[in-house]
């Protein structure tokens, strides 16, 4: 730092006669700053509100659920006891965990394998394949669930883990993301490994993959969260209560006549824990510039 601020600050702090009388004068910079803070604060409130209500509702008795007060009149842990004692919750939690984990692993593996191939190899039809993969991004899930369903029906995949997972085992988005990240891996790295006698699969796995760890971490978070919270397709493809995923199961808490919001919110609150863990594990890998460290100084 230069010494400029040192000479400037005393100047400003120096009490002058009108500074003592009037409020400190705000320059345009300060105003902009205040507006920025207000906007950020509002944005923050907006983001936190649903979570706050989720936790608040999970602590309420059923009769209080439709009260909008944030602090319950009589907070209770009864809902947590109920949900955690209900065997179905563990069943769904486990289903979701297995499905989200397997899907994440599958995406990390296949998306990066395809992305790498599209990025680093020249072969006829490469661009066509890439465009074909990308174009699937433009088809909304709502349009796909019917063909998926018919297909699952014919293959006998309904009401099974495989049936829930198969549409998401590879994603066009993941392929695209990984392809873009592999662009940042210099060919020199791969060629050096080729000269050192690694086969193409080893080059991908041992050299290229470690260099795109930040992208893999980001992809893992995306895929895990996406599958952990997936609702529409699991709802359609599952029939038996034992095969429900957590979101599907939670949405059915209560009886036919009434939705038990306090229980749903309790389940939701508990179900955020794995997503938090996944995020905490992977976010530390998201450090940019890892790739560049081995290159020119």
């Amino acid at each position: 730092m230069t010494d400029a601020p040192l000479t400037e600050i005393p100047e400003r702090v120096k009490p002058s006669s009108d500074a003592l009388l009037a409020k400190p004068r705000r320059g345009p910079r300060d105003n902009a700053q205040v507006i920025r803070w207000i906007l950020l604060f509002l944005g923050g409130v907006l983001m936190v509100m649903p979570i706050a209500y989720m936790i608040s509702t999970s602590l309420k008795w059923p009769h209080e659920v439709y009260n909008v007060n944030l602090i319950p009149d009589e907070p209770t842990l009864e809902n947590y006891t109920y949900v955690l004692e209900d065997g179905r919750f563990y069943n769904w939690f486990w289903n979701s965990l297995i499905i989200a984990t397997l899907t994440t692993i599958s995406n990390l593996f296949f998306d990066s394998l395809v992305g790498y191939t599209l990025c680093k190899f020249r072969f006829p039809g490469r661009t066509l394949v890439f465009i074909a993969i990308l174009s699937t991004l433009m088809i909304p899930t709502e349009m796909l669930v019917i063909p998926w369903y018919l297909m699952s029906q014919q293959f006998g995949w309904l009401d099974s883990y495989w049936g829930i997972m198969f549409p998401g085992l590879m994603t066009a988005f993941g392929v695209f993301l990984m392809k873009q990240f592999f662009e940042s891996v210099p060919d020199d790295f791969l060629e050096a490994a080729r000269i050192d006698g690694l086969n193409e699969f080893q080059i991908w796995w041992e050299v290229a993959m470690p260099l795109v760890r930040p992208a893999l971490a980001a992809l893992a978070i995306f895929v895990f969260l996406g599958n952990w919270t997936a609702f529409l397709w699991p709802l359609i493809v599952t029939n038996s209560v034992e095969m429900y995923t957590l979101p599907v199961g939670l949405s059915g808490f209560g009886d036919e006549a009434d939705v038990a919001w306090e229980l749903i919110m309790t389940g939701a609150a508990i179900s955020t824990i794995p997503t938090l863990i996944v995020f905490l594990i992977f976010q530390r890998f998201i450090i940019r510039g890892v790739v560049m460290a081995g290159l020119k100084g």
Binding site: A193, R194, I195, A293, G294
Partner: protein
């Protein structure tokens, strides 16, 4: 016996041929430098030797075997890249050991090799560091180490020093030269820096537009350039070329002067290096007005505007001719090169 031989090597990308028949023999233990302007095909030649690109036609022999159809790893070569290409996620030890990744040596032998190489390169204390904790020169040393552990028949270097700053480059240049003297492995080294080429090479290969223009020791290519391209490419500042006409006894310059030279005939280019062109009292080759002075210490370069264009000459650093003054410049006959004006080829 030649350790490495290239025979009528060509390479085309699609319809564009970028190498038009390269012939080169490199002896065992020789340090050969490929040099030439950007895009002349130096890297392509090296990548063909390494097997990173397929040849279009021609043969590549290493240690007497035709390797043109072999995988890079089977060719008994090691390559050092401009960008080092050392892996940021591995320690120095792992990086150096990576060169042995595919080798069948027992574990203990590998360890010993790594230690030995680290010792030669002075990297022993740094073995457990990650590349991000190394300086540019140290990273380059790791890359060299990774190539060395494999003890290949031929080392290939593609502009390994061009990412280093000037001072470090000079230092690493010297280290590479010492390393070569110590391990004695055949080296093919690519650079576009003619000073690097001159200082390192046993033999220099000068390339242009996918052709080899001349192969020779540094002093051969400096003293007897095969054509005007080599003449101007090697040596800094570049050789002056002045148009003239030779009649077998003397050369008459377009700018007026003439010099007795029993060489050549017809339209020629007379070449004289700035190092050999000095202000003279007596009969001069050419004369003109000094426009710029560049003091180098013991000597001063002077840029002289003549009727045949600008020439560069070297004057005594203590009493250089003043800017604006007229100087007469001369050179010893043995320092004068003659080239055919049409073909650019040297005339004996």
């Amino acid at each position: 016996m030649a350790e490495l031989a290239l025979r009528s090597l060509t390479k085309a990308y699609g319809q564009t041929e970028v190498l038009h028949g390269i012939d080169l023999e490199v002896a065992d233990g020789e340090f050969v430098v490929l040099v030439g302007p950007s895009g002349c095909g130096k890297s392509t030649t090296l990548r063909l030797i390494a097997g990173l690109e397929d040849t279009t036609s021609g043969a590549i022999e290493i240690g007497g075997r035709d390797v043109a159809r072999l995988e890079p790893a089977a060719r008994d070569i090691a390559m050092v890249f401009q960008n080092y290409a050392i892996y940021p996620h591995m320690t120095v030890r792992k990086n150096i050991g990576f060169g042995l990744r595919a080798s069948k040596l027992p574990r203990a032998d590998k360890k010993e090799r790594i230690a030995e190489v680290a010792e030669i390169l002075g990297m022993t204390p740094l073995l457990d560091r990650k590349p991000s904790q190394l300086s540019g020169g140290q990273r380059q040393r790791v890359a060299i180490g990774r190539a060395m552990v494999r003890d290949p028949a031929v080392f290939l270097f593609d502009e390994p020093l061009s990412n280093l700053d000037a001072q470090l480059r000079t230092q690493m240049r010297l280290e590479i030269k010492k390393l070569h003297q110590r391990v004695g492995t055949t080296i093919v080294f690519v650079t576009h820096d003619q000073v690097e080429a001159m200082t390192l090479a046993d033999r220099i290969v000068i390339m242009k537009d996918g052709h080899i223009r001349q192969v020779g020791t540094p002093s051969e290519v400096y003293r007897n350039p095969a054509d005007t391209f080599v003449a101007r490419f090697i040596g800094a500042p570049s050789m002056n070329l002045i148009e003239g006409r030779a009649d077998g006894a003397r050369v008459a310059l377009a700018s007026g002067g003439e010099i007795a030279l029993a060489r050549g005939g017809g339209d020629v280019l007379l070449g004289v290096r700035p190092d050999d062109l000095h202000p003279v009292e007596g009969p001069a080759l050419i004369e003109g007005r000094v426009t710029v002075q560049e003091p180098l210490g013991p000597e001063t370069l002077i840029y002289v505007e003549t009727s045949a264009g600008e020439v560069i000459a070297k004057a005594d650093g203590r009493v250089p001719p003043a800017v604006g003054s007229t100087v007469r410049l001369g050179a010893a006959p043995e320092d004068i090169h003659l080239f055919d004006r049409q073909s650019g080829l040297a005339l004996a």
